[in-house]
Symmetry: C2
Subunit: 205 residues, 2 copies
């Protein structure tokens, strides 16, 4: 990030700071300092602080830990779903160990703070939620095609429930500041997906 363009440095520094402290708790000055930029440059690239936050969310590629890019081919749908939760668990544990806090979802936390205050940020957050839902729906479709889920399951509806559950689980573990909270919620995730835990249905793999 050191020799990246000023605009990219501002996006990166903003993403980190807003994620760590929230939108209103971080000032434009602070973002500039972290990005080694000056206020004039900030307002050369962005119309406002709100525009920066909107761009950060809109230009986001995936959600760290749970959804990054398209699901890799060659992996069974149900295994992929399990790997996604475990990756998020690892991310939560790492944050807690290194920073002492669990920061939750970078999009969800900001959305909770300002969805009622900024239409443009709220809209950008919706886009990321749509992306998460579609990614999980794709995984569900794969699991149906592979016979791991009943073929009358509704991938869109299931994915929406799962996204809600993930957001809630991240919020709970953030509030309790305990990685164990997130890990213990895995069973509900599998239940919503319709994937039985291995102890109950030890078939496959």
């Amino acid at each position: 990030m050191a020799d990246a363009g000023t605009r990219e440095r501002l996006l990166g520094a903003g993403a980190e700071l807003f994620y760590a402290k929230g939108y209103n708790a971080v000032g434009v000055q602070e973002v500039c300092r972290a990005a080694s930029a000056h206020k004039g440059s900030f307002y050369y690239f962005f119309d406002s602080k709100e525009a920066l936050m909107t761009a950060i969310i809109a230009e986001r590629r995936g959600v760290p830990g749970i959804v990054q890019g398209a699901p890799p081919p060659g992996v069974r749908g149900r295994d992929l779903a399990i790997m996604m939760w475990d990756a998020a668990t690892a991310e939560v544990e790492t944050q807690h160990r290194l920073e002492g806090h669990i920061k939750g979802c970078p999009v969800g936390s900001v959305a909770a703070e300002i969805a009622t205050q900024s239409e443009s940020i709220r809209g950008a957050a919706c886009g990321v939620l749509d992306f998460m839902t579609e990614t999980i729906a794709e995984v569900v479709r794969r699991a149906i095609a592979e016979g791991d889920l009943a073929d009358d399951a509704d991938p869109g509806a299931i994915a929406e429930r799962v996204v809600a559950y993930i957001q809630g689980a991240l919020l709970l573990s953030k509030t309790r500041n305990d990685p164990k909270v997130f890990a213990d919620l895995k069973a509900g995730y599998l239940q919503l997906l319709g994937i039985e835990s291995q102890s109950k249905a030890p078939r496959s793999r």
Copy 2:
């Protein structure tokens, strides 16, 4: 609230404003104006803005729409659970109709914003989450005793999952600003509770 004591007016005005706009977006001055109080009085009753927010959460009785006070006697557990979701749905719809926005959970939204920034507010939010979890666990226990749920179900674990799901569902409907999002997530709530929807299992009632 008009002739309530100053402290109570500050608590009430703070609760409303923080719920509507978030913690950092509301200033002490604004709370005072809304409460018809002066800054001197504010700092006579509260050590800081943070102390006000902590008191607002800690002194909260229940969560509007989903959990208010102990569950009433004489109502079947599974019916109670359904009533709770429907009450929350009604609250979400009312907010959207009257204010144009869905504000989510008053505790969850604040927790998402500042759980990493204030230990005292985070702690108070934990208390409310504990209360929600315990209330739902009680409902689950009642449903087990009434034979609507398998008696090997774990009320505590189920309740924790359900609380996560409720928080996530509120966050999603807030972000999408659409009451239908919340209503459509009911099936996942029933699934996590282990209560089949009526169309699939038309027994009882």
